[in-house]
Symmetry: C2
Subunit: 394 residues, 2 copies
């Protein structure tokens, strides 16, 4: 009965579902506190107090119809202006609110971007390892996903690989920093090299190639790492931002797009994004939370909590012989599997109540993703289990 | 730069934009209170007090991570169960929460339905006049929209027209009652006849044909009109519900789908809808408002306000010689244009500060849509303007 495209996707989604069920099954046997579920990228740090205050202030001060009513499909104008001014101050830009579109999270933002830009058969380039949903977002618009293999030494995007991957049909290149699943932050040097390749290829093919940055983890960085601001590197650039992690509001589906005012056909592109927001069924980003984030621009979650989880886990895993690029952001580790078969390694780990996701799911077999956005106590308790797991491979 | 499909859509959207700008321009010249803007289906009646109470209760009683965090892509299980029980009581059904998927409004619900069901080239049947977005939603999945011409005497769906329209490629038939743009409520007799045709055609072609009901106006009915409950008429049936009008929360993007438990391949279909919610970028319906609507199941907006607007406007328009089917629901009138050219009639009306939408936009030229979800005072003040407008056609 269901569409051909969905048949495969439903089959695949049952694998994720199976992992979730396995976690529940293990929790029932061993108790929830004894299952080390590193499989989900779900923030465990509380939203800042400012969020609740903002909701209460809005309900107190503004008219209900203004809070919960329709607005332009791109979002409230004052909210868009406020975000633009915030970004201007923070990154030394000169944006106007007309560069911002409020979206249902970064996932909504990427979908309206793809809908606006992609003709069937166009190519979207991603760097392995990559968030698996990019494949589905490209397929939604009948575009072709082109994967640049991973540089497993640094997990920086492979610039020469990009050069080889670009064709006359390349319309979008996705970057994602801090990265899911590696936690690596792209350096300014990397960004400059990427932009250089795009400029050369745009000139060679006479095309516009959009660099699209998926940035839900922008605020989660450690050790003073800075995330270069995309708009400074390439004219045809769009940032998909989300408050899911920066304010721990993943269920509220609130984020925005920033479109570079120097992008090709800027006005037409903004018009297309506005229409795509409407016709894909988002209509607009949820209205109350547009106002909430506009009043919480300087609020932050306790990033240090994640950092201490990272330190503890990274320190232990490397001490017991697991090789891992030290991540400077997000809440993921992406260590090398001690055996070639990452799926088997994850299966073995379950016997020690450890749940991880095979790197194959991110286009990078031989590694595993560990999402350490869980309680410190749980991380601590998991250390012994990792030690015992590793004894199998001595 | 933008995709081919979007080019046309952006051009069309500028027509709506132009209407909006015209309203602003007229308001600047004549004052907002002297412009009779009947062009937007934007509720003007306050949300019930229960909505604000519910938000405050939730923030007070529940953990922030539970309120704002991820859940299953189909929504919170207790919310889905609560809605199922509410529907069971109200309509004498026996649903479980597994038949409900929380969505980003009805627009989100229709999009995940189409994504789940439609292969490219499949046919979606609509009855004129119809909400123009159906055309875009079908195009999102490369389906073909098939329009059954209007029965302008009653604005009930033309059952014999449906019989002629269905082919082996028909996958979905959309109904929308109370109807946008006519305000007409489909009768139980109509629903029975529609279902009978679908059963015959399913048997003839050996196919499953889904009857999909778009029901944002279900609670807005007058004169004791009852809206037949779709699930009782056809096994392959899905309802897209929204709280945009019933609780005056259009900006919050909250609604749900109800899938008939007797539908073909029910489990697989629910799996597909769940995945479609995720990969189209909705991920899940906004979490706080899932909880808000679950605590506001019996709350109602002041429907009588709309009814009194309808009575005043319908009474006056028919008195001055405008022909109109008396609507029993929604907040629209869809009178016959006194001249054949509905676009010209709308242009003429602007000279009297009256803004309406030509019926052509709904696949039914020769009529106009009047959205009377505006203040009573504005409706009152418009009556003279309508009288003067009509004097042009004597």
């Amino acid at each position: 009965m269901i569409s051909e495209q969905m048949k495969t996707l439903v089959a695949n989604s049952s694998v994720i579902r199976a992992m979730f069920e396995e976690g529940k099954r293990l929790a029932e046997i061993h108790g929830l506190e004894n299952v080390y579920d590193f499989s989900l990228g779900n923030p465990n740090v509380q939203p800042p107090a400012r969020v609740k205050e903002a909701i209460l202030d809005i309900l107190d001060q503004e008219e209900p119809m203004a809070v919960h009513g329709y607005m332009n499909n791109s979002g409230f104008e004052d909210v868009r202006e406020g975000i633009a001014r915030h970004l201007d101050q923070k990154y030394g830009l000169a944006l106007g609110g007309e560069s911002i579109i409020m979206t249902c999270g970064a996932a909504g933002g990427l979908n309206i971007t793809f809908k606006s830009l992609l003709n069937p058969g166009d190519e979207v380039v991603v760097f392995a390892p990559f968030f698996g949903e990019y494949r589905n977002y490209a397929a939604n618009y009948n575009a072709k996903l082109v994967v640049v293999p991973a540089d497993t030494k640094t997990f920086q995007p492979d610039v020469e690989g990009l050069r080889r991957a670009i064709t006359a049909r390349t319309k979008v290149v996705i970057v994602n920093s801090p990265n899911n699943p590696t936690g690596v932050v792209y350096t300014a040097g990397t960004m400059e090299q990427l932009a250089q390749v795009l400029r050369e290829k745009e000139a060679e093919h006479g095309t516009d190639i959009f660099l699209v940055s998926d940035e839900p983890y922008r605020e989660l960085t450690y050790d003073g790492a800075e995330v270069p601001y995309l708009l400074k590197y390439h004219k045809n650039s769009i940032i998909g931002y989300s408050y899911s992690k920066s304010l721990s509001l993943p269920g509220e589906r609130i984020g925005y797009l920033v479109v570079n005012p120097e992008a090709a056909d800027f006005q037409e592109l903004m018009g297309a994004l506005n229409v795509a927001n409407r016709i894909l069924g988002f209509v607009n980003a949820p209205s109350l939370f547009q106002k909430v984030v506009a009043r919480s621009l300087d609020a932050e979650v306790d990033v240090d909590y994640y950092k201490r989880n990272r330190d503890m886990l990274y320190g232990h895993l490397t001490a017991i012989g697991i090789s891992c690029v030290k991540p400077e952001g997000a809440f993921y580790l992406f260590p090398k599997s001690p055996i070639q078969d990452d799926v088997k390694f994850c299966e073995d780990a379950k016997r020690y109540n450890i749940l991880m996701v095979p790197g194959s799911a991110f286009g990078c077999p031989g590694h595993v993703r560990i999402a350490y956005c869980i309680s410190r106590e749980r991380v601590e308790n998991s250390l012994d289990a990792f030690t015992k797991l590793m004894e199998n491979y001595k």
